[in-house]
């Protein structure tokens, strides 16, 4: 009889803990995998890197660029409040900081530093498998296009 009572009590406590714990806390131990692709977009050429064909199709006529080349692809594994850096060209650095999970989304802070000074900052709510494009910084005869993706 006592064993049955203790078992019921333990089951109730386990269920209670599970239901009361928000999803992002349960997922708090999971790392966030961030993929950063650094792409150069220009109008001087019409060469499209094969790895970027899907991105170019997705962009469609949004941007008026004809040439896309993949300069760098970096994978970052970030724990909560951890930071990962990706060196862009010309003393520019992209910094990603994982701020934690919010239900089924991951909050990610992305900054661009130019010679150590912040020129751009954004906070993104990423879904698993989703991407955000950040473009515009001048690079050589074109612009930089950064594709930030997340998996968790």
């Amino acid at each position: 009889m006592k064993i049955a009572i203790y078992t019921c009590q333990a089951l109730v406590m386990v269920c209670l803990s599970f239901l009361l714990t928000p999803t992002y806390i349960l997922a708090a131990g999971m790392d966030l995998q961030v993929t950063v692709e650094v792409v150069k977009a220009d109008r001087a050429s019409s060469n499209i890197d094969p790895q970027l064909e899907e991105m170019v199709r997705d962009l469609g006529p949004t941007l008026n660029y004809t040439g896309f080349s993949l300069l760098k692809k970096t994978l970052l594994n970030l724990k909560t409040n951890a930071t990962g850096d990706v060196i862009l060209a010309e003393d520019r650095t992209l910094t990603c900081r994982f701020l934690g999970y919010d239900d089924d989304q991951a909050r990610l802070e992305v900054r661009i530093l130019d010679t150590g000074k912040e020129t751009f900052r954004t906070t993104l709510l990423m879904i698993s498998g989703g991407n955000v494009l950040i473009g515009g910084p001048q690079f050589e005869d074109g612009v930089l296009l950064l594709r930030v993706g997340a998996e968790f």
Partner: protein, 192 residues
């Protein structure tokens, strides 16, 4: 010993305890006056009773809680409380009503949480951090006609640019956000 003596001997104990009727007492008394054998039997009986009384008086009887004793007897005779009384008795114990209340709370919170999530989905009451730069309104989520609901995309919670000019666009295909940083505007008279 005659038959009459045997009959008298059977009534001697009652005679000594004065439990005989008046007629029987007279009958025994009359026989004792005439029968030496029965008088000796009566003496032996008196001595035996006196010895027993002395023995009882030497050892005091233990005190007994009669009420408790009756309850125990009744419990044993009635084979304990009924099943319904046993069931009700369980809820008087914290080990039982504690987990029961906890389980009821778990079920209640489960349904409350479901209800809150449903309301948030229908009213879109998801809080966003304040936007540091004025941006065009969030683009509509693209609807895939082959599925029941809109395709989920990432969201931009806040944006800041030193140049002060940022555009928030949407890719034509999947509708993913596209943040475009415009260059700083050159001041008038500044060499290009």
């Amino acid at each position: 010993m005659t038959e009459r003596c045997k009959n008298i001997e059977l009534r001697l104990t009652a005679y000594l305890d004065k439990e005989l009727s008046e007629a029987d007492r007279q009958d025994v008394a009359t026989h004792l006056r005439d029968c030496e054998e029965c008088r000796q039997a009566l003496c032996q009986l008196e001595e035996t009773l006196a010895f027993l009384k002395q023995a009882y008086d030497s050892y005091p009887l233990p005190e007994v809680d009669l009420d408790q004793a009756w309850k125990e007897i009744e419990a044993k005779v009635n084979f304990g409380p009924s099943r319904w009384e046993n069931f009700l008795e369980l809820f008087k114990r914290p080990m039982i009503w504690g987990p029961s209340i906890a389980m009821a709370a778990v079920v209640l919170m489960f349904f409350v949480r479901l209800n809150v999530q449903d309301r948030q989905e229908t009213t879109g009451s998801v809080a966003h951090a304040p936007v540091e730069k004025v941006l065009p309104p969030e683009p509509e989520q693209p609807v895939n006609e082959s599925t029941d609901g809109p395709v989920r995309v990432c969201q931009v919670e806040s944006v800041y640019s030193r140049s002060g000019n940022v555009m928030l666009l949407q890719t034509a295909g999947s509708g993913q956000p596209l943040i475009w940083i415009l260059p700083e505007k050159k001041k008038e008279g500044e060499k290009s």
